[in-house]
Amino acid sequence: MNDDTLTIFERSREGRRAFTPPADDVPQVPIEELLPAGARRERPAELPEVSEPELVRHYTTLSSKNFHLDEGFYPLGSCTMKHNPKLHERVAALPGHARLHPLQDPEYAQGALELMFRLQGALSEVAGLPHVSLQPSAGSHGELAGLLLTRAYHEDAGEKRTRVLTPDTAHGTNPATVTMAGYEVVKVGTNDEGGVDLDDLREKAREDVACLMLTNPNTLGLFDRKIEEIAEIVHDVGATLYYDGANLNAVMGLARPGDMGFDIVHFNLHKTFTQPHGGGGPGAGPIACSDRIEPFLPVPQVVERRGDNGSEPLFDLDVDRPKSIGKLRGFQGNFGVFVRTYAYIRSLGGDGLKDVSQTAVLNANYLKALLAEDGIGEYLPIAFDRTCMHEFVVSGRGAKEQLGVKTLDIAKRLLDHRVHPPTVYFPLLVDEALMVEPTETETKERLDGFARVIREILEEAAEDPEVARTAPHTTPVRRLDEAGAAKRPVVRWRPEAENGEAAD
């Protein structure tokens, strides 16, 4: 019997192997002469010993236990699970991209640098801000870059500021980033319309505030109509306004963060620009900024150097930036992600990007309308009943009170229908929240199908809530003991004998 939960380590049998080393063609000097005993490993690392067929089968079998975007609907709010065009993998794998060393001299990497330069220009146009750094590795890294830039900007002006404002609807990364950047978090409340509470903002926007971090549309999927007033309040006290680009998919070609008054923006290339999510990375989180922030951007910057009349432009890496915050990571950033993003932008063009946002908003509002119909709406009321942008939030309060099934139960039952659940229990200010983001790449039929499944789950719960409460029933495993996992963490495999010794 082949237990499909065995780890690759448990499949190991002494002497098996997949790898054959290339011929060792240099003089066979004993290792002891090259490496002193004190530096040498005494026993080999206990890596698995497996054949290539078994290795391939192991990971293929594991892969079959994952639900994935190419299989079905994945309306995970705030994550923008749109289709990943297959062309992107092919162009990213071209040897000129995939096999290019990051320290190759710029004169031998002109294609890569020009691609980055053009991408900087495209992102700048989408953001409505003149300067771009591609370097940050992810959205959270972009946020940190934004606050480090803010700090450098204020310090350059001789100012010491200590606090950063974040709305109570903010992604958890915002407050975590604030602390890492050495600031204190101050929460700003939400008004009845789901926007920033302006009175609360006015009271908290004092001279010691460095920045307001904002998502617009926000995590409720709502566009803050008062964005210009917000920007004015923030700028009046000399603070910067930071745009968390997690929700940029709603507004491309319709409104630009720079035109709304934002000073710094990050892009999630794995959301808006369709870098495949990879099971949790890689991503990339480039930033765009205004002129006053530009001197502090990280190094290196990709620049175009114009030669004498008629000569070809030369793309280069500029490290001579005396006010720069320095480096956020190694080399130039996640170039492979830039290739995919650039391919995406070239495929769609300016009009195509606008079409993306319009369709994303259309799909979200259509799905919102379907979920407001009788038989669903009374159990899953919309949290803020307004026209939404690319996503919306419903509350599972009705289902919990009237049917005895919680948001978690509905989510788990969706798994039996081969649909990925929406983001659950976020944002925190909505009771039993379900945050739904369909994206523009879903058809009307997929959206209708999702509403139908939700209706079926609710009808089933009215008959017998136990089915949802004990769901899922058809997945490789049933609900897992997460509390137990956290209480007695087992975070690596050990041979049985060692586990026995370790047990308390």
Binding site: A18, S140, G278, R329
Partner: protein, 434 residues
């Protein structure tokens, strides 16, 4: 669809956006292209890069030209691995979660430390994350870093430390290109949160990690070792030599060069830091029927629960790249990793001897070494004309090694290729009168 929404037009869905901030024109970018045209344009751009199959490259300095086995391409291109997100729903994510668990096990084995997370962005920012852990753990304000730490790691550490409010102090290298132990002893004090050493260091020197760790520990500082995971196949694991944390760049484990990313960073630690670690961690558990399963665990460390009190802000890790890492290590296997590392070790020493240049670090080196080259730029130019990229010019990061060249060796660099570089070196040595 508009009828179902109750809207008369698409524009009606956007009335929340004030007129004054609307773009009111199209996005000023070229029109979209067909798939074929995009492929052609991207191919043309790619064609203007000289990649590692078009020259014999001795370039390393943090990323290396290793062979990536075909099965990695096969497995990583599976939609089941490529297109899901973070495993928030463990019942339909057992594949990804088990991969993380296996990855953590492999990293723990390599580093000699009991716990590892499921990966972070990449190497230098992993070093910076270790600095943040040291701050949370010790509440001290100084970070002491060897000049043998990768220049990008030192830079990233300084950039991030400016945020979390710590000072970074540098310890010089000796005349043999190793971390100066006496200078380290002088640099650490009661306010030092962590000491950072790289193994092998940026010049390729095998550091006397145990001794350096001892010096650092004398004042209660945490010992952070940045390591290249491949040489750890034959080097004593940092965890056995006193490192509290071992972090690093994972590109060498089955990842492409990709002009610098994406790759992955790893982050391993002593047991006592488990609840202070950044990033995702997979743990083993049971389901309702008692079946073995895996979940993301210890999430109360993480930003989506702990918010401003989180141990780090990272949420997206590098799951796909870490998958390549654990598949690569399983492909090499227990014995293959040793064989590969020994091959690199022998070829590295062979290359250093064959080149005959004055070594900057004459002691033990495992995959890279630095030499002084008379008329360095002329030598590089000549080699490039022969289709050889001879390595990395150190002066960009180390003005003290004005004529220094850093030469990297992998299993792809054959004796024949090394001999070709050595022949050019012989010519260069002869041209310069002694």
């Amino acid at each position: 669809m508009l009828a179902a929404i109750g809207a008369g037009s698409l524009d009606q869905l956007f009335t929340d956006i004030p007129e004054s901030v609307r773009l009111g024109r199209g996005i000023d970018l070229p029109d979209g292209l067909s798939e074929q045209e995009v492929h052609e344009e991207l191919s043309a751009l790619a064609g203007r890069n000289r990649h590692a199959d078009e020259e014999v490259t001795f370039l390393g300095a943090g990323m290396y030209d290793h062979y990536v086995p075909a099965l990695i391409d096969t497995l990583l291109s599976r939609s089941e691995f490529l297109t899901p997100y973070t495993p928030y729903q463990p019942e339909v994510s057992q594949g990804g979660l088990q991969v993380m668990f296996e990855f953590q096990t492999a990293i723990s084995e390599l580093t000699g430390l009991p716990v590892s997370n499921a990966s972070v962005y990449e190497g230098p920012s992993a070093v910076a994350a270790a600095g943040y852990l040291a701050k949370l753990e010790t509440r001290r304000t100084r970070l002491v870093a060897s000049r043998g730490l990768h220049p990008h790691s030192r830079a990233a550490l300084a950039t991030h430390a400016a945020g979390y409010g710590m000072e970074v102090v540098e310890v010089p290298l000796t005349a043999e290109g190793a971390t100066d132990r006496d200078a380290l002893a002088a640099a650490v004090d009661d306010d030092t949160a962590a000491v950072f050493v790289q193994q092998p260091n940026f010049l390729g020197t095998v550091e006397e990690l145990g001794e350096l760790a001892e010096v650092g520990k004398s004042t209660g500082a945490l010992i952070v070792c940045a390591a290249d995971p491949l040489p750890l196949g034959i080097l004593k694991p940092p965890g056995e030599l006193g490192a509290d944390l071992c972090v690093g760049e994972g590109q060498t484990l089955g990842n492409r060069l990709d002009f610098g990313g994406p790759s992955f960073g790893f982050f391993a630690a002593s047991e006592r830091f488990l609840r202070r670690m950044p990033g995702r961690i997979a743990g083993e558990t049971r389901d309702l029927d008692g079946r073995r399963g895996f979940v993301l665990t210890l999430q109360t460390r993480e930003q989506h629960i702990r918010r401003e009190k989180a141990t780090h802000n990272i949420c997206t890790a590098q799951a796909l790249n870490a998958l390549a890492g654990v598949v690569y290590l399983s492909w090499l296997g227990k014995r293959g990793l040793v064989e590969l590392a020994e091959l690199m070790l022998r070829r590295t020493h062979y290359a250093r001897e064959s080149l005959g240049f004055d070594p900057i670090n004459p002691g033990p080196v495992v995959r890279e070494f630095a030499v002084r080259v008379p008329d360095l730029d002329g030598f590089v130019e000549k080699a490039r004309a022969e289709g050889i990229n001879p390595g990395y010019r150190l002066r960009r990061d180390y003005p003290e090694y004005e004529d220094g060249l850093l030469v990297a060796i992998t299993e792809r660099r054959t004796k024949e290729q090394i001999d070709a570089l050595a022949a050019l070196a012989a010519g260069a040595r002869e041209e310069v009168p002694a």
